[in-house]
Amino acid sequence: MDRRNFMKQVLLWSAGISSTIPNFRIGPELLAAEKKSPVVSHAKDKNYYALVARVLEPLGGINKFVTTGDRVVIKPNMAWDRSPDQAANTHPLVVKALVEQSLEAGAKTVMVFDRTCNEERRCYVNSGIQQTLESIKDKRLKFYHPDSRKFVPVNIERGKAVNRLEIYRDALEADTYINVPVAKHHGLSKLTLGLKNSMGVLGGNRGSMHHNLGQKLADLATVIRPKLTVVDATRILLRNGPQGGNLDDVKILDTLIASADAVACDAFATTLFNMEPDEIASTVAAYNMGLGEMRLDRMKIIQA
């Protein structure tokens, strides 16, 4: 290989590689669209499995969000090596119901994963979600551990506090992204809800998100935009969050909240803790960026 050829190869290869870094952008016309007051649905029942269908009803049911051939990501919180009754992870039955309904709605694949904080396998098993999902015998369900090769650097065009994040590819490429956080206490952000749950698709050093967490979560919310958020408040963790461990800190509410508006969902969930939406920095930051509604009086709140 001569020098000229070598240089040519180097240039071509580097051009090729750099052009494969994806660039996700949300156009201003989309953001400027007329905002209707978002519907926030909530429902209460002991049967968590049936509760999912009920809370989705006012929003038009799962078929409003999942259509035939969709690649669906269902992102629960299963970050901690804790059992379901300790309220640190999303309840397995809630996840199961959403998976089954998405499959029935004709999804091509349903992917369920989380980048955990404790050891991955322990979290999947002890959250109860692994065993629960194993009972679903459908090849379209993919329940897996994130693959380190598949985190891709993404430019956060509208970011105010962070402009580049490593995000899991399947989350970016999904047709329908359903966020299923569990509502619980958090030392730094006071509460962890939907926006905080999106951190489970991040690669790299996630700890740095904590330096100005509210704004950074809002920045992340500009690229991770769930079509549907279902907040699991069947049990909520009042203290020692986000992992808890003490059943005295858990309060049983038997409640689910759902909305297509991620910010509205978080804002309404805040009231379960007798707090105001503006106490949560990420809710305020996302609202200020036009990502959703946080004023309770501008929402259509429906009890299903």
Binding site: C117, R121, R122, R149, H186, G207, H210, D249
Partner: protein
Amino acid sequence: MKKKWLKLRHGRRVSQVLCFVLFLFLFVKTDYSGSNELPYAVNILFRIDPFLALSASLATRTLLAIMWPSLVFIGLTFILGRFFCGWICPMGSLLDSFHRFAPHAGEGRVSSLHTLKYYLLVFMLVAAFFGLPAAGYIDPFSILVRGLALSLYPALNVLATSFFTFTYQEMPGWINTLTEPVYAILKASILPFRQNHYELAFFSLFILAAIFLMERLQRRFFCRNLCPVGAVYAFTSRFSLLRGKGGTKCGKCRNCMDICRMGAIDEERNISPLDCNLCMDCVDLCPGSKISFSFTQKGVEQPAFALSRRTFLSSLAVGAALPFFLDTRTMAKRPDPYLVRPPGALPEDEFLGRCVRCGECMKVCIGNALQPAFLSAGLAGMFSPRLQARTGYCEFNCTLCGQVCPTGALQELTLARKHTAKIGNVFFDKNRCLPYAKGIPCIVCEEHCPTPDKAIQFREAQVLNSMGEKVAVKQPYVIDERCIGCGICETKCPLPGNSAVRLTSAGEHRDPRNALPTQSLPY
């Protein structure tokens, strides 16, 4: 008659392969498998090792009940001789299979160094008794498992991951439809769940590689001349019932002497049970079919150890004297504060006495937190496990290391005891910790602190940030009584380089001299 022995020789190979496969299977299974209890006795190789049993028992001056399986093999050796070395030992099997790649090795002929292993054994056992436990340095299984766990196995994963990352990122889609399923199968079967990283990875590999390089000097050099397990078995096979009998007046061919991998056959074609590992090659390959093994002792020369009294006494004396120098080191007065032992570890002296440096706990540790110590526990403590919290942390609900420890150096803890077993305490460096030093909000440490009532708490404080603005931040602090020293805060601290919160052994329950200052009694 010949046909029968021919079968036995092949039987030996089958046994070697099966035992090695079993060894590898248990090695791969030394991992979390969906439940906190391990379903297999993954440490069995170390529990059948009589040398480690002797050394650990002498060092702690107690009979270690957990090592009872070693008695089974001692008993069998009284009957069959050193069959373990020829038929079972995974290191021996590896060396045998490596033989064809080291073709220049001299073979046969009695080794001039073959008594070295006895002196080594005596030295090791006497030193262990007087307080210098170094069995793990030379034990073949410790060397093998350490080499695999700390170096070869992680390297295999690096190799696989880099290859499949290359195909995933650079290759067209149709190649990926072929390679990705292969990767998935490998990940589900033999590859480790995650990429682990270890201190002393190269060093462990070199020690293992050295044993293989020595094959170039002599076939089974390690087994003949150094192996302390083989030496223990040699002492018992002195009395073994099964003996090989060579042809004394069989001519000049000396084929058996040349092919003997252990150098067990002398000029008079006597087969020494001290060295013979019953590989059965000589029986099968003797042109006159003059060699046989039987339980009749008639006409069989009784073997001699041929030890020199002077060397024997010297190794005894050195073994007895050396341990007394241990207390001259600074660490006898001031142990390394960053030497944090795994939960369930016995007090340091007893811990080192029992620890056989097998690497099982480091292999099984799901947090990649346990690392082999280099010099922090002294030369004698090399390869003993320490928790290095910046690399990984001790998982709150996990008790695997205590389950795999073959000698009980790490006691098996119930989950309830593990949750309160304090192995150390963390300290904040306020000069680096962001809310203190820079006025930047953080408290990732508090988020991850696993005790149900968090050991890391925070206070709201008004501070000046680097722009001179007054900001409100949450500043973390530790409640010593709650901290168990798992180190997750140090692992997860998002600062580059050193963590702003560091784990030390202060306050560990196993050493009352290491107690933290208190103002009142804790109860």
